[in-house]
Amino acid sequence: MSRREIFMDVMFRTGLMILVYVGFALFIPSYYSVRGVAALLDGAVVIGLTGLGIGVTMLAAEFDLSVGSLAALIGVVTLNFINGAEVGMVTAIVLGVVIAGVFGAAQGLVIAITGINSLVFTIGSLIGLRGLALFMSGENTVNIPVQRLEETDFLSASVLGIFSIPSLVMIGAFVLVAAFLRYTVWGKEVLAIGGGRTEARAAGVSIKRAMVVAFAISGALAGLAGAISCVKLGSATPLGFDTLLLSAVTACLIGGIALEGGRGTVTGIFVGLLTLRFLVGGVSGLGAPFWMQNLAVGSLLIVVIVAQLSVRQLKSRHDAPALPVH
């Protein structure tokens, strides 16, 4: 792919996003109000942060399925910090994120050393972490005491009328991760092991380091999503975030992150996220029954995937004679 092709790809996806948005905005007046947009953005935070993390592992040609359970566990852990150690809200969230990041790094290291397929390995952690979340919470929902609830209000305040603090955090995370992948050695190594594992190894890239980095990012972002959302809500249930994994992966796929690794952009994930959000918000805004949301998201995903496959096949047929064949 050339830069131009990547740009065109993101543009097409952005076009689709705008189409979805405009389509619903025609029928739902609140969609194009400032508050409507603010609500849409705010509602995208959990999926956005998690999708960004899982997207990084997908770019490294790996897959972190543990994100949903990790978010639930970190939600519980963060609230335990607040309740037990009586630390401030922000401190508790930071602690939660650090723990999630360390867990992710360890998970990446083990996967790199053992060479176990990350899909398989993280099915294990997906189930195990859920158990740990139940254990840490005593199988009950953990709540922030009523008298401290006002300390969490800052998460619902809005900046400039559109942005809540969580949505600013999410946008910040997207910018940081994009810059990380674009401008740093470690980021390039993550892309390198995704675009050509053996080639990268032969070039002297440390597969271990790149895996640790990718899974640490994924873990930390899932933890951030879980911590922010539970603190904002004032409660954490150990069985929460059960549909998060699929939504996060959907955002990545709509955004053009390839399962085989190396291909895709952070901008794409953001566009995919908003497309998904506009669609889900729109369907529910129209008052359609819940099953319509699933049907709509599923259909959109399949349409996007089929479209990108057809474009690629057309292109490869067109390019075929020039390609060296071995």
Binding site: S2, K188, A192, R201, G204, P321
Partner: protein, 504 residues
């Protein structure tokens, strides 16, 4: 001038499964010299350099650099020990830019990589290898194989290493590009760096090397000064025997034409292909990576689409579109990627040998154990595979035995044409002669074999008719008797210097 040993390897052994790649090899490299490694395919050259590059670890034996014993556990370790390596298989990540590829795994001052900084860093190296006009910020996947190879050499230069390894760097390059690479190698040696240069081209050895180490069948000989060497001597020590002892006699008489290609156009070939193969004939395609020979074979196998022209069997146009249809027509295809396409590594030999022929062993759709066993045993016997090994997993066999299984399973469908890519890749010398004999026996029964190989001796020794390929064009089609090894090598490497018969 006295030059000390920079790198010394003592009794190094390395096996891959049951294939012994190196049986106790000694090797040394002096400071500031160019050491050429020569030998047949599978003689152990590439294995040796992979050990030095940290891509594989020796089973036993020692490696010393500058007198200190070292363990090279990964390419990173080797880099830190001052070793840079250009592999035979490319190590370019296609989804990264040229500049990023060059800097990958190396040292760039500061943690932040911007396009402009990287471009400034890599520009001089790109110019050294003749890629001054390539945009460092373009994606490496968009470059030709030859240019990607040059990018790798640029990367090696940027490493500022003491020991540089080039494993057949010129295989995919044109004469002009080869001159650039050889120039770079000479320059490096004059700067006092040591170069290990693996090649098949004897001419290059005499042009740039100081000494030569010859490999034969997993062992190495003492290094020889190039100045004291002549070509005859070189070839004899490389082979250790005369060519004709390896290969069965050629066909005395050929049957009727069975397959003909008329103006066939396929992706990977620049000009249309016209050729014919007869019953009882072994047709050998010679050429290097990207020469197009595979593309023709895969088109006949129904794997690559036919863009134009026709494939005819027994005079009738068939133009099948998928491997299933090819098999129906009696065309069997044996890929060069044995592990991936040739065998079911995790299944036993019985299942492997009968996999092409499930209809025959499953009356009414249910596999009959008795018929399965009988069919497998019959094929095993024919291919000299030990019956008592039929229950072992195919992946546990030696390369030679795997190849016999990969070939043998097709005989079950009684094909009339057998397509074989790289018939003896990863097969030790002893088993090779056996595979050649099996192929010849098949043609004596009326089969036609079309094979392609990057091993020129193999093509020349085994085939009745030889076709040489260079960069998507056929250079020459002739009887094997009418061409010798030097001419064949010229055809597949730089046919520009061959006046007659060159396709325009």
């Amino acid at each position: 001038m006295h030059r000390s040993d920079l790198l010394r390897m003592t009794s190094v052994k390395k096996s891959y499964g049951s294939l012994v790649a190196l049986k106790g090899v000694d090797f040394n490299l002096r400071e500031g010299e160019v050491m050429a490694l020569l030998g047949e395919n599978g003689a152990g050259k590439s294995t040796l350099v992979k050990l030095i590059a940290g891509l594989a670890q020796p089973d036993s034996g020692s490696i010393e650099i500058g007198g200190r014993s070292v363990k090279l556990r990964s390419p990173q370790h080797s880099l830190e020990a001052g070793i840079a390596y250009v592999s035979q298989e490319l190590s370019i990540v296609p989804s990264l830019t040229v500049a990023e590829n060059i800097c990958l795994g190396g040292h760039v001052h500061g943690p932040f990589w911007t396009d402009r900084r990287l471009a400034a860093k890599v520009k001089p190296y790109l110019e050294l290898v003749g890629l001054g006009d390539v945009d460092p910020s373009s994606f490496a996947g968009g470059l030709s194989v030859a240019k990607q190879q040059l990018v790798e050499i640029a990367r090696m230069l940027s490493r500022n290493a003491k020991i540089l390894i080039l494993d057949e760097p010129t295989a995919a390059l044109s004469d002009v590009e080869i001159e650039k690479v050889l120039g770079v190698v000479k320059k490096l040696a004059s700067e006092g760096r040591s170069v290990i240069y693996v090649t098949h081209r004897l001419g290059e050895v005499f042009e740039i090397a100081d000494r030569v180490t010859i490999f034969r069948n997993g062992s190495s000989f003492d290094p020889v000064e190039v100045a004291t060497l002549d070509i005859e001597q070189l070839i004899t020590s490389m082979l250790g025997r005369r060519l004709n002892e390896m290969f069965p006699p050629r066909a005395t008489e050929l049957g009727k034409p069975i397959l003909s290609l008329r103006n066939l156009r396929v992706a990977g070939m620049e000009s249309p292909v016209n050729m014919e193969v007869k019953r009882g004939e072994i047709l050998g395609f010679a050429g290097q990576l990207g020469c197009g020979a595979n593309a023709v074979i895969r088109a006949i196998a129904g794997l690559n689409p036919v863009l134009d022209g026709s494939i005819a069997m027994d005079g009738k146009t068939v133009n099948h579109r998928d491997p299933g249809a090819a098999i129906e027509l009696g065309i069997a295809y044996c890929s060069d990627d044995r592990k991936k396409d040739g065998i079911f590594a995790g299944r036993n030999l019985v299942e492997n040998l009968t996999s092409t022929n499930l209809n025959r062993i499953s009356p009414g759709g249910v596999i009959s154990a008795a018929r399965e066993k009988a069919t497998a045993e019959q094929l095993a016997q024919q291919f000299n595979i030990r019956i008592d090994r039929l229950q072992s997993l195919a992946g546990n066999l030696s390369g030679g035995n795997q190849q016999k299984v990969a070939l043998g399973k097709w005989i079950g469908i009684s094909p009339s044409i057998l397509l074989v890519e790289e018939p003896t890749r990863g097969v030790d010398v002893g088993a090779r002669a056996e595979i050649y004999r099996h192929l010849r026996v098949l043609t004596e029964k009326g089969l036609a074999v079309i094979m392609c190989s990057s091993d020129n001796q193999e093509v020349l020794g085994l085939s009745d008719t030889v076709v040489t390929f260079f960069r998507g064009k056929i250079v020459r089609q002739c009887e094997a008797e009418a061409i010798d090894l030097p001419a064949l090598m010229r055809d597949v490497t730089h046919p520009e210097t061959n006046s007659p018969g060159v396709a325009a």
